[in-house]
Amino acid sequence: MEINTLRKEFRKFQNLEYYNDLISNNIKLLPFNFKRLNSGKELLISMVGDYLIAPNGTVNYLLEKKIDKISESLYFDLLSNHIISDSDDIKSLELLANRYRAKKTNAFNFAQLHIFVITLRCEHTCQYCQVSRVSQNKEKFDFSHLNLFKGINLMLASPEKDITMEFQGGEALLAFDLIKDAIAYTKKKAKLVNKRINYVICTNLAPINNEILEYCKLEKILVSCSLDGHEELHNDNRKRPGRNSYSLVEKGLNLSFDIVGRENVSALMTTTTLSLQHPIKIIDEYRKFGFNSVFLRPISPYGFATKNKNSNYQTVEFIKFYSKGLDYILELNRNGEYFKETYTSILLKKILTAYSENYVDLMSPSGLINSVIVYDYDGKIFLIDEARMLAQMKDFTFQIGTVDDNWETLLSNPIIEKIGDAGVNDYIAGCSTCAYNIYCGADPVLHHATQGDMYGFRPDSSFCQRNMSVLDIIFNKIDNEPDTLEIFKSWVNNE
């Protein structure tokens, strides 16, 4: 053919209708969940977590295939948010598979966080603590060198290249010499297997001193401390002889900032009944120390923590506390101060981006095995920190073995298969049809502990109540407050 005839051939253009896959309004629904917002609008969430806020009635129209009732721009939004498809063969299937995989990438990992309960000894007797011992008996309540090295060998034999080794207690720093031995041993061995290890020490800061901090600086160890709020509250929650826990934290924090630098120090709070009245004071306390985030964290409703009057409160009360705190924090942001609530930020990352956050409670498949492993002071290996509290009450469900085992034995523990089942919210009753399941988790440990069943019963699960409420709060804000969405974005972006 002559070039000019070819040119003409190519110049026959088709119109838009030619490219339409839709045949006589026969739309296909992709897997999505939905929920009504306070405004009456409908929240539609796709299987990969893209959300759309649509007018009342939209879902019904979709189900009845009355698409002439839906505006063109909303129809296009439904297509591009992966809620419907125009053709039988879902042409975006492979794209969706990639998206789903990206959202669930944590499931392909092994534990990156390895917690070593280096000692059970502590000089505090905190309200909510159930495992620590006030004791001088190192023999009995510290890791033995032999077990410690076995634990480290196991950690280094696990598949991840980047590992965080976290020292917990009791009060970890009461066994500072042991920590030093552990790190020296780990450093030597990690080099041989080409792994990068980050170290964290969790401490109440009471025993902190220059020598320890200089060591932390040298070894690039992060310091994570407990700070429950203002002086009175902190001292009420965190009992110790002399009632001076707070002033020790204050001194310890300032010293830590000086020596290891602010960026290497973090603080964590636990909410007790006493805290519930003081969300604003607690947040101000964090600001006072120059932190730009707080994690409003409920108490784990396990074991004898729940038997203590100051640890036993209803989720509704916690949500009131959280909501008041969140509003206060948002107000701070509106006034130009960058400050974020960590739990909200974890959820927001899942809501506003294609990715997820590696936070064990909010994972499905559950974060057990693929997020954290716990080595207890006596050589027992648990799937999660909370399992130690259950063990304290003679429930060893989540103990998979001891440091004397190898990974093959540990991972062939039957509990792991059960978790594989009970840890996937896509098919847990209640969750499977919940609008939020792509953002939420499963938490078989909590349901086992509180309901005696790893699958759990959602209508009175405190886990469900908390997440459903928090997500409701978040989405109603997104729906009603455009400026809040901008603040939320800044939290996800960390700036």
Binding site: F10, Y19, D50, F76, S92, K489, N493
Partner: protein, 379 residues
Amino acid sequence: MNEEIKLSWKGKIHMSSSELFVGRVISKEIKNQELSVILEGKDLKTDRFKLFYLDSTDRLEDNSLSNIKGLNDIEIGDIISVKNSKIRSVYRTKSNNNFIFATIRCNSNCLMCSQPPLDVDDTLENYLIWNYTIDLLNNSPRHLTITGGEPTLLGERLVLLINKILDKFPDLLITILSNGRMLALENVIDTLSNIRYRKNVVFAIPLYSDVYKIHDHIVQAKDAFYQTCLGIHKISSLGFPVEIRVVLHKLSNPRLLSLSKFIHKNFPFVYHVTFMGLEIIGYTKANKSELIEENTTMAEENLLASLKFLSSWKYNVSIYNTPLCHIPESLWSYAKQSISDWKNSFKPECERCLMKKDCSGFFTWNIKYAKVKPFLEKP
């Protein structure tokens, strides 16, 4: 090729024994306003070295082309190909924006294509030309664009060229302008995975809508949207940087913000999103009524909202090829001067404009249609 860009010329062939010649300009002489150029290179079919002569007057000598108009653009060091009576500029030594023209073939047929495709298999020829051109290069180009047609239709040969030039100049950055559709195919991805310097090769892939049928209509190819989307995922998972390019016109403007959100959710890994002004050349001229935006207020608002959205999520965003007097001042910080040296032109009125030094001006071929509003006071 387009006459406006002065990259190809025609002349009268005389006694040439070569079918396809590629050579470097070693001399350029002007006598009595007549131009003669000597090329030194190789006949690619016989693999023999020789000289070739280009003249603006009649010249009756072996291996020559005569009666060529407008040769002035040619410079010593440029690399030129000669096929039959046609000359093409392959490599311009002074240019910041050299490009490999991979093929005139394309599997799409975009309404606003500036380089309308043809169903002619020129892939071997273009490969041979560049395979030898790389041998002739003494210095690294500052930047290289691989364009077409659809470059990935070159297949294995594309990989050979890229590896060859990057072996020679490992710091060179290459941008491939691909519609991304072929990248959805496993065998194409397998082939491209043989590129050894993935970080040096950016795939710049156009996406015009978040709605499949709007995109398919714009590129005039069924299922192109899904193929391109998947292609973006696949090429990125090989480790190639991906840039998404959006051409602004009447069909893409209305859903620009939705497209930006779609990019954020589906392609969060892209390293650059660029919005480009429409080129009134090629097919665009034929589809003007469908493409030229009348509702400029809506278009501006959508562009601004899109840029704000993408930059709030920390994407690197730019506007190319749009003069400053065509966009609100709030968008100026995103406007980039085009990297290409032959696309920018200004109207005579622009001489009075205080913003000219920051302005990208117009595509040369848009000038005819362009209206300007020179800034006479500092905005």
